[in-house]
């Protein structure tokens, strides 16, 4: 049986990285714990299905572990890690153009209800629910390029510099591509509002 890992929740990212570099591999578990949710959400948003997101996240952590020697001390670990996740997810997307994923109808990662049911929070008003569903659909209609950059910004909360690094683009291109992606999202939503004028 695996012995319980020591509690390292009080340590800073930097201290954790130093421990891992010093050979205490177990300290990496705390890094995983702190970042796994964002990593999954980003991977899920880019790949648009749970199975691939799961693969991408696991692969990304292994890459991050192996590249930890090159992590700049005193920098935040999450953006660095999420950059690896984004790259890995992109690589996964490029490797094969898979079936069109339907994020809304895809069963949840625990085999539970589809997304459409999950975001149907009984406490929320019907208007908000409809809007969330429509934003998700509108996002799904964006080009891959726009979806990826929006995911990196919205789900990864990555800075322009991190996005530029991950995508190998100048920051100026990131700014303009992100702007185009947001314009496209607004346009998709405005089509929806024309169909349902009372929604706003």
């Amino acid at each position: 049986m695996t012995p319980p890992r020591p509690d390292r929740s009080a340590l800073t990212d930097d201290e954790l990285v130093r421990l891992v570099r010093g050979g205490e591999t177990d300290a990496f578990a705390e890094i995983v714990r702190r970042t796994r949710r964002s990593a999954y959400l980003l991977a899920r948003r880019i790949t648009r299905n749970h199975e691939d997101a799961d693969d991408v996240v696991q692969e990304s952590y292994v890459k991050a572990f192996r590249a930890l020697d090159r992590f700049t001390p005193d920098a935040a670990i999450a953006p660095w890690l999420l950059t690896i996740v984004a790259r890995t997810a992109l690589s996964s997307l490029r490797s094969v153009k898979r079936r069109a994923a339907s994020a809304l109808d895809d069963p949840g990662p625990d085999g539970g209800a589809p997304l459409a049911d999950r975001i149907a929070d009984p406490a929320s008003d019907p208007g908000a629910l409809a809007r969330r569903l429509e934003v998700e659909r509108a996002f799904g209609r964006l080009s891959e390029e726009h979806r990826v950059i929006l995911a990196m910004r919205v789900d990864g909360d990555l800075s322009y510099a991190s996005i530029a690094g991950a995508l190998g683009l100048p920051i100026g291109t990131v700014m303009s591509r992100l702007a185009r992606a947001r314009e496209a999202l607004v346009e998709q939503m405005s089509k929806y509002r024309k169909v349902i004028p009372d929604e706003r």
Binding site: T25, V32, I84, R94, S95, R98, R132
Partner: protein
């Protein structure tokens, strides 16, 4: 005030909203936004949409993340044993990933096998060579039968014919491509790989060849590409052979013990039956699921299409809930998913089906790790599928 001025570019508006503008530019944009209802509304709209996107994101339950952590740490522990020179830069890794395309991928854990694991592979290989198993596929079938006894026995005649024919063509080509090695060189080569370790490691730039080489080692053929030996190499080989002989005797002794146990207690001997080399044990959840449907641990040609289709939802669900407890388990599930997709797609799969099938096979190959048998089956099935599509050269394309 700013209302009458032209609106700033959206790039600046959104960068202002994201806090990404430099101080001097921020002041200018802020002044405009404060006085411009249109720009404020645009920023508010985008903020609301992005908030809705975040809220709508499917967040798994905590249990999933706990399992994810465990799986990651298991992989990290394995990666921790990798020699540092085998580690690649993440940037190079991404480029490398993209270049691999449809070639059967060797997973990272194939590159991190320890010298002891390699030694075990080769020593067993030598054993098989001694038993005259060179170039025969018998060990492979034996492994298949261990994991899928019914499937191996009930293999459709057409399938096995076709498999034999393919195997025959491959072997003929190999024989043409290499000079026949002297008998003594077979074990010495194998032992050299075992002791040297690095000689047997895989070259990521030529995966198709690696796959074959690895397959041959796993099958105990030992007859991987032979280079002309210098006197020094031969001496080294002899030393390694002597070292390996001791290991071999230990293994033979263990095998004898195993045989007596088999005679005394069949159930116990079943437990002692050798597992595929480098394979991870099959997780209990997956094992139970496969048993429920009467499926072997690794898909085989005799497996009924109907059963695969019936098992598919359960397999998908197992994958989703993290019930595939190891990379090998995931590979087994992926292999089954590829097969079920193939059955569903029929004789003329559309492009989406092709993508799905190829994707599952490729993931199976990558996730199979050191499980040479599982990787071989997935790679052969991928090749077989591509052949059916009339796309054979793709697997070997640079």
């Amino acid at each position: 005030m700013s209302v009458n001025q032209p609106h700033p570019p959206h790039e600046d508006l959104f960068a202002y909203r994201d806090g990404e503008l430099k101080a001097d530019r921020r002041v200018v944009i802020e002044a405009h936004v404060l006085g411009c209802h249109t720009c404020r509304e645009l920023i508010d709209d985008v903020s609301r949409m992005e908030a809705d996107l975040s809220v709508g994101a499917p967040v798994p339950k905590d249990a999933y993340f706990e399992r994810l952590s465990e799986q990651v740490m298991a992989k990290v522990a394995a990666a921790d044993t990798a020699p540092s020179h085998e580690r690649r830069r993440p940037e190079a890794e991404a480029e490398w990933e993209e270049k691999r395309e449809l070639k059967p991928k060797l997973p990272w854990f194939a590159l991190v096998s320890t010298a002891s694991a390699a030694a075990a592979v080769i020593v067993v290989g030598v054993l098989l060579v001694r038993e005259g198993a060179v170039w025969r596929r018998a060990p492979s079938v034996a492994v298949l039968e261990r994991s899928a006894p019914d499937a191996a026995r009930s293999r459709a005649p057409g399938d096995s014919e076709s498999a034999r024919s393919r195997a025959g063509r491959r072997e003929a080509k190999k024989r043409e491509d290499r000079a026949a090695p002297p008998p003594a060189s077979i074990p010495s080569r194998g032992l050299k790989a075992a002791v040297g370790g690095e000689k047997g490691k895989l070259d990521a730039k030529n995966e198709a060849d690696e796959l074959n080489a690895n397959k041959q080692v796993a099958l105990g053929s030992g007859a991987v590409e032979e280079k002309p030996k210098t006197q020094e190499n031969l001496k080294e080989g002899e030393n390694q052979q002597r070292a390996g002989q001791a290991a071999l005797e230990k293994l033979s002794s263990a095998r004898d013990k195993d045989s007596s146990l088999r005679a005394a207690a069949p159930e116990a001997s079943q437990a002692l039956a050798p597992v595929p080399l480098g394979a991870e044990p099959v997780g209990e959840s997956l094992k139970a699921l496969l048993q429920r449907y009467g499926l072997p641990l690794v898909w085989g040609p005799g497996v009924s299409d109907d059963v695969v289709l019936r098992a598919e939802p359960a397999l998908r669900n197992l994958y989703r809930i993290g019930g595939a407890s190891s990379a090998s388990d995931s590979a087994r599930v992926r292999l089954y998913l590829a097969e079920s997709a193939r059955v569903r797609a029929g004789a003329a799969p559309d492009s989406a089906a092709i993508d799905e099938i190829v994707h599952h096979y490729r993931r199976a190959i990558r996730l199979a790790g050191n499980d040479a048998e599982l990787r071989r089956v997935a790679a052969e099935r991928l090749q077989d599928f591509l052949n059916e599509l009339g796309d054979e050269p793709e697997l070997h394309s640079p």
